[in-house]
């Protein structure tokens, strides 16, 4: 018994699913609806990740190597360093908001449609 289970099990949780599930997954993967969903997801998530990482690393680098610039006073006791730091908060909130809007508008309807198709095809 153990000998028959082990090799199966040694190859991933997915292998415990019924064979028909695999067929449906692979069929959906070829559909234009899914490739469009993946394109829309990646076209937001990947550039946004690169942008906020670059923006954050720029901030860290300025703290290290651009101190004269960071120490410049803008008004009162508020200097560039503090504003740059607070702008990291602003950019984080803005990117989070934009992603939520993008996901609600462009990702969720497609995902729901494909998920319902999967449920229908596999009888869930």
């Amino acid at each position: 018994m153990a000998d028959r289970v082990t090799p199966m099990y040694g190859s991933g949780e997915a292998d415990r699913l019924p064979a028909h599930d695999h067929e449906v997954y692979n069929a959906i993967a070829q559909e234009s609806g899914f490739t469009e969903l993946r394109r829309r997801y990646r076209s937001f998530a990947f550039p946004a990740t690169i942008a906020f990482m670059a923006w954050y690393i720029l901030y860290v680098v300025c703290n290290n190597w651009a101190r004269d610039f960071m120490n410049t006073k803008v008004f009162g006791n508020i200097n560039v360093a503090l504003i740059f730091g607070l702008l990291q908060f602003v950019s984080t909130f803005v990117i989070a908001y934009l992603y939520a809007r993008h996901a609600n508008k462009s990702l969720d309807p497609l995902a729901t449609q494909l998920r319902e198709e999967f449920d229908r095809e596999t009888g869930r």
Binding site: F34, Y56, F118
Partner: protein, 545 residues
Amino acid sequence: MSTAALLPLATTGNRWLTIALFVAVVALTLYITFWASRQSKTAADYYAGGRSFSGFQNGLAVSGDYMSAASFLGISGAIALYGYDGFLYSIGFLVAWLVALLLIAELLRNSGRYTMADQLAYRMRQTPVRTAAATSTIVVSIFYLLAQMVGAGSLVGLLLGVTSATLKNLVIVLVGVLMIIYVTFGGMKGTTWVQIVKAVMLMVGTLLITVLVLIKFGFNLSDLLGAAAERSGKGEAFLQPGLLYGKDLVGKVDFLSLGLALVLGTAGLPHILIRFYTTPTAKAARKSVLWAIGLIGSFYLMTLVLGFGAAALVDTGKGSQIMTSAGNAASPLLAQAVGGGEGTVGGSVLLAVISAVAFATILAVVAGLTLTSASSVAHDLYANVYKKGQASEQAELRVVRIAAFGIGAIAILLAIPAQRLNIAFLVALAFAVAASANLPALLYNLFWKRFNTTGAIFSIYGGLIMAVLLVTFSPVVSGTPMSLFPDADFAWFPLRNPGLISIPFGFLCGIIGTFLGKETHPAERFDELSVRALTGAGAEKAVVH
């Protein structure tokens, strides 16, 4: 967080009030735990709270898990002592949530079940991949847990006015026992509600003190900064970068290394990742991250006011309580000051309230970490590696409770002797390991078709071993008076933070391992995983009672 000898904060007048509030926190959390234990029936209840938490509830719980006493007391304390540089930690901690939001949370919710390893095990060979992911989960969680437990001993000592070593040990044992009770009986459902209560207490308490500080300065941030700079005795420099980080070139590179680990580590912290399984859908997981970003961001903005407020209103000079507690006493003392000062009713009440918030924070965070380790031991190592998926749900639920008890006991036993050591670096190390070992494996698995089992185990063990090795041979462990072993010197790696080397190394190991591996099977399952992760087709559903 320093564990040096601290002066007690509580004076006899308010100590009983503080103790009464601590008892109230304990009573409330125990009530929640026993209520939750009656609701928990299945494995999904225990591990994932029945996947029945809304985005808002889980957002509060995520924030509760993330905002440790180190953030609450430590960051405001660092700002009180070092000004602007104290603020830098919070920025990395917040920006990091974008990695979780954009790349991890929803996809993980759709493709996993209870643990971080589930996500990898979908298309990889389960036995080696689960063993690696469980090892890394347990290592990260135990590092984090130990730092919290040792901090708890000295913090509760500080808040209650306990100085004797025996009483501090007693505090650690008590915190450990409470954490074992929460996790063993309450499971994820109980732990999540404890996190929610704590997060609400923390946000309300912090907001109250922030508003009181701002009133004193007529809501003028510039005046607050000016007063803080003047009273700190450091003048302009207090508001500029450089008091804490980057004094020389090594220090600057070290700061860059720390920044990378902070921003990339969060999305690889196992106790954060398993929170996404407590929601019914990926959309709710997304909402919980959005709430977390809002809550954590506002919290860190408020700690900025708390830190500069403490610098402006409370003594932070040599020999002051804030200095001797390495900043941890800043928020409680500030609460006392804005409440009316020492000896006043308002001051005593606010000091006691903020102390109780800090206590609730400690209890909630250690419970989350213990649950994460215990889940990985039971679900990954016992049920899937040892029993090859043939364990009954009853047996798995029995093992997870035994594991929680064992991990709690080990944490207590390690934390008591560790009190004398400077182990504050363990939190930064946990982030470095999470970024170097867990994040590469998770990202490759989701986005790289060719990635396979060999690549996964290479990146996890490679990143883990490199991070731990570099810290072992860094000034954190030996070679300076502040080191873990101040009398030895085997520090050939100059940076305190290994991320700059270990994160790229973890990613590189994943590539090398993948090309060394001969499997084709994981690549054949990649399309399936993508459909599952992006659409939620076939994803685990919420438990209906």
